[in-house]
Symmetry: C2
Subunit: 240 residues, 2 copies
DNA sequence: ACCTGAACACCGTTCAAGT
DNA sequence: ACCTGAACACCGTTCAAGT
């Protein structure tokens, strides 16, 4: 505390992992994934590039920590006391909007399998699955299916917005461009995709995302008798 | 044809996009994503790095084309004449195994939103959704939900196996390591994740993946009356 | 038209040297 | 213990020069 007199006098706090992650988020937000550089980070924090390695293992660690900070705040905001089904939708919408604003979060999420940011999501979803009354044997299936669906949408949305930002267009224009591409595919080889292209243009992908969650939840409701009681009975028989 | 006498005499074909993509796949398979380099590619093809740019736009184009080639062959192999539900499972399993063998395909898939490789998947899935008897209004929802789920699993699996390969471990060991990490989380903050950690260790993630597809398909079956006939009726009313 | 390979403008990461 | 910043070992991409 007393040591860093010089920096404290300059009105800055000393270098810390927290400050580095914070600055990384700012760089990612303004310049995308290629905007995060150890050199740019060092300049922004008025230090040398090598100093950063004293607080952060490497660039992966940095990306990971930045993503985790965003996910943590989304999960905190989505923790309302509503019904399980509404809570799951709130988590989904929270992630959807966060990735809409910060595509780099979606991209990083697909690389962080089993690590903190995805575990946070799994925990949040899992608790709601339990509250939903899903039997223990099916909890992993339901939670991981929802998680994988959300991560899939996250990745695709991140790629879409990143591509849109690269060409200078707005996100909605990017979707229109995709729809236009699709309608020019060979009629015989891509009959389904072509038939759906028009529909894609009109649809709101936020609503589509929620409808997907509802579809999965409907599957849960439909299979509850077979997934729960019958398997529990089978397990009971097996252990006898 | 007659021009490239020198290369033909050496017993090589002339440089082409096809040969470049083929060599890229070989490099990606043996060295992972960091193994694909314009310098390594040039050496393998006995040419200069700059020559490659005559046939390929940039590294993204290369990655994209390599991924598409793999997906195309998976889709071709999965096109059996079985029942729609079985065909969807075959597509899923085909992709799962392809990504298991080549993690870079899963990673690239998450970056190629709306482009060829994902369109190929969408088309294959969509045709089965149509064959399943899903009403037109719900086809996009069902197909895109399945697609996003598959892409989500693809991304996570790719990250898992890539991480395992980096530490020199086998894939199953990596899952065990994740399970071990999870059981050491704070008991109060991560109660669900901890409770599921044991289950994760025993489960076969290929089976889990298929169970997720089945869960979504059960949601489709359950909501068919409401999603199809009632909406069709509403549409009919609206257009009157 | 196609290829060569040196050069350019970057990267992440390391490490002797400082305080 | 923490920080500096030059140096290292790479990248993707470009481009004059060749055939």
């Amino acid at each position: 505390m007393v040591k860093n007199t010089r920096r404290v006098q300059r009105g800055e706090e000393s270098l810390s992992r927290e400050r580095i992650v914070e600055a990384s988020i700012a760089l990612l937000d303004s310049g995308g994934e290629s905007g995060l550089t150890f050199r740019a980070l060092a300049e922004r924090l008025a230090t040398g590039a090598g100093a950063l390695y004293f607080h952060v293992a490497n660039k992966n660690d940095l990306l990971h920590a930045a993503c985790d900070a965003v996910v943590a705040s989304v999960m905190a905001a989505a923790a309302t006391g509503a019904a399980p089904r509404e809570n799951i939708r709130a988590i989904g919408i929270g992630m959807f909007d966060a990735i809409d604003a910060r595509p780099w979060v979606g991209a990083e999420l697909t690389r962080a399998a089993g690590k903190m940011p995805t575990v946070r999501l799994l925990e949040g979803i899992g608790r709601q699955v339990v509250a939903l009354g899903v039997a223990q044997q099916a909890q992993w299936l339901v939670a991981s299916t929802l998680l994988n669906y959300i991560l899939g949408v996250a990745g695709q949305n991140a790629a879409n917005t990143a591509a849109a930002m690269a060409t200078g267009a707005v996100r909605s224009h990017a979707l229109a461009a995709v729809a236009a591409d699709w309608s020019q595919l060979a009629a015989d080889e891509y009959s389904f995709t072509r038939s759906i292209a028009g529909q894609l243009r009109e649809h709101d992908d936020r609503e589509d995302f929620l409808a997907g969650i509802d579809l999965i939840l409907e599957g849960v409701a439909a299979s509850r008798p077979s997934v729960t009681s019958s398997r529990q009975a089978a397990a009971r028989k097996a252990s006898t």
